[in-house]
Amino acid sequence: MGILEVKGVNKRFGGLQALGDVNLSVQDQSCHAIIGPNGAGKSTLLNCLVGKLIPDSGSVMFDGQSVLGRAPHEINQMGISRVFQTPEIFADLTVLENVMIPCFAKRDGAFRMHAIESVGGEVELREKAEEMLREVRMLDKRHEHAGSLSRGDKRRLEMAMCLVQEPRLLLLDEPTAGMSRADTNSTIDLLKEIRDTRNITMCIIEHDMHVVFSLAQRITVLAQGTPLVEESPENIKGHPKVREAYLGEAQV
């Protein structure tokens, strides 16, 4: 059994079948990629995993527990963090504060009335956040407003915010979109190192095949809301169904 088990998940938006009978099993401490053409339902699938959407039918189990019906913050507290397709950060706060907030969430839970303590006194958390920022090479920007960062920096910041929580399952929705080649490569290196050194399972959505083949151990191809194939990277390259899915879309 995988750490994440998706069984028979369906999701409709009006007349559109965004997800049709999706089954997915992600092995513990692996990196699983989900690829597929635009509109295939990849983001919708992630939304069903983190509590943003509730599937019409099916089950989603994380580490033996159902996530369905739980609030997003509860799902995160179970150990699932997500990087969004369009960066979701605290734009009005500084970069360092952005990374400290997930540290507080991890340590203190969904709510704690720590109104008299001073943030300045939280030396340990601050060091942890700064260490994380150093890993994503943003330490020098820690006092900047997050809203003023470039798109690529916003993505790296969001990734740092997720990683600093040391989640058991990290969901990444196109983490390198909008990044320069150099930033993409350093992101690959970072994710590789995290994959190999931490007890973490990664589920990554990506259009950039270079990223996918550098990181993924399993690949699921999704087209029109249904998984077509699940294979290892070596077997997926020449797979006829995959070509069909992508080329078919290109012809339309």
Binding site: E88, F90, A115
Partner: protein
């Protein structure tokens, strides 16, 4: 090389963090300085606000009389609390006057039932306003943005309407609620020492007692009630600083910035926002308790929506989300209200009497709509000017002026070094 520079800056910021937490009363250097200034201002306000000799023509611009100075402090507390909700979380309540009113009624009832000690009044005012804030906040916070504002407004108007009608046995309706000879007052006496109605006291010391100091042509009033409010305004300000600098305060700013990210980071925005709402409601209730401690009478007009609007104006005018802004805004508006509304056409004519008659009448006619009963017009224009040209309020104006004067020094002591 990159590694080396970043590791030294980690150490530097670590030292800074320690410094921040071990400063005066747990405040950072800048906050401690600001706090010190506030204390000094409160202590010496009776002198600072009376700069003009008693018999001079300018004496009417003096603000150093007890009633007005008490209002500065009380509405300062009201606005400090409001700013914790609005400034940090961005939730704009249009119903905070309800808590001011509830606090006032609770305070007067304490005077009637228990005794004239003001500590009964402020304690009950804070507690009861807190209970109402939990209820109103719990429901209103199910919505955000304009819908939240409308909900709070509706609740406040409901409180106002109830106080006038169904609840008039408790609120005394249009004839305001006040202390009478027939009150039980189980821990106090029915009559004051002079046989009249008893007045609010702090362990026997009357709130209204004032020591007047004459210094040549000047005269300064030191009023006990004022200093009682002063102590609590200083405490309220201190609490606000602590909240602003706390992890809780950071979460409130996160609520304002991106609730979606907050949820997916494992934080539940709802209790944070509710806590901010209740804290600000309790500050408002406390302010209501202080109002009746200075003058033990409570009327429904204290809950009117214009009162709720007033605290919004104070906060925005002073500087939303800044520490000192709401206090400045409260002082500014209360000063304008008190001074401008006193000016009538007789005073205007005496000012411009030196001009030829026709010109005098003309100028008086132009100024007249902006003073006296028309002071709201002046307030409205000032408010528009501030919102358009100084979106950060008076505080931003202050910083801009300050920057002009000491540009060098500012860059030296800035907390965030240019990197």
């Amino acid at each position: 090389m990159t590694d080396q520079t970043s590791s030294t800056s980690v150490t530097a910021s670590r030292t800074r963090a320690r410094g921040a937490s071990t400063g005066f009363l747990g405040l950072g250097r800048r906050d401690a300085a600001l706090f010190g200034v506030v204390i000094v201002m409160v202590v010496f306000a009776p002198i600072i606000l009376n700069p003009f000799p008693v018999n001079s023509a300018m004496a009417q611009f003096n603000a150093g009389f007890p009633q007005l100075m008490q209002q500065f402090l009380i509405f300062g507390i009201f606005a400090i609390g409001f700013n914790i909700l609005f400034g940090l979380t961005g939730y704009l309540s249009f119903g905070h006057a309800a808590f001011l009113g509830i606090g006032s009624y609770a305070g007067v009832w304490m005077f009637k039932l228990l005794g004239m000690n003001v500590l009964y009044a402020v304690t009950a005012a804070t507690a009861i306003a807190g209970i109402f804030a939990v209820l109103i906040g719990y429901i209103s916070l199910r919505r955000s943005g304009i819908y939240f504002s409308i909900l709070t407004l509706a609740f406040a108007q409901m409180c106002y309407a109830l106080a006038l009608s169904v609840l008039s046995p408790i609120t005394n309706g249009e004839t305001m609620l006040q202390v009478t000879h027939n009150d039980p007052r189980v821990l106090g006496s029915a009559v004051g020492p002079d046989g009249g109605l008893p007045v609010p006291t702090l362990f026997g010391l009357e709130m209204r007692s004032t020591y007047t100091m004459d210094a040549g042509p000047w005269s300064f009033d030191f009023n006990l009630g004022y200093y009682f409010c002063g102590v609590f305004m200083i405490l309220a300000f201190y609490l606000a600083i602590r909240i602003f600098r706390s992890p809780f305060g950071m979460m409130l700013r996160a609520v304002k910035s991106n609730q979606q990210r907050m949820r997916y980071t494992g934080l539940n925005p709802r209790p944070y926002t509710l806590a901010a709402f209740v804290i600000s409601g309790m500050f408002a209730g406390f302010a209501g308790g202080l109002l009746v401690s200075m003058d033990p009478i409570a009327g429904t007009e204290r809950m009117l929506w214009t009162r709720s609007g007033e605290v919004v104006l104070m906060t925005i005018l002073g500087g939303t989300g800044t520490l000192i802004g709401p206090v400045l805004g409260a002082g500014f508006i209360k000063y304008l209200e008190s001074i401008l509304s006193k000016i009538n056409s007789g005073i205007l004519h005496s000012w411009f009497g030196f001009l030829p008659d026709g010109l005098e009448d003309f100028i008086v006619a132009i100024i007249y709509p902006f003073v006296g009963k028309g002071w709201h017009l002046t307030l409205g224009i000032l408010f528009m000017l501030v919102v358009i040209f100084l979106p950060g309020g008076l505080v931003e104006g202050g910083t801009r002026i300050g920057r002009l004067f000491r540009r060098r020094k500012a860059t030296d002591t800035s907390d965030t070094p240019a990197e």
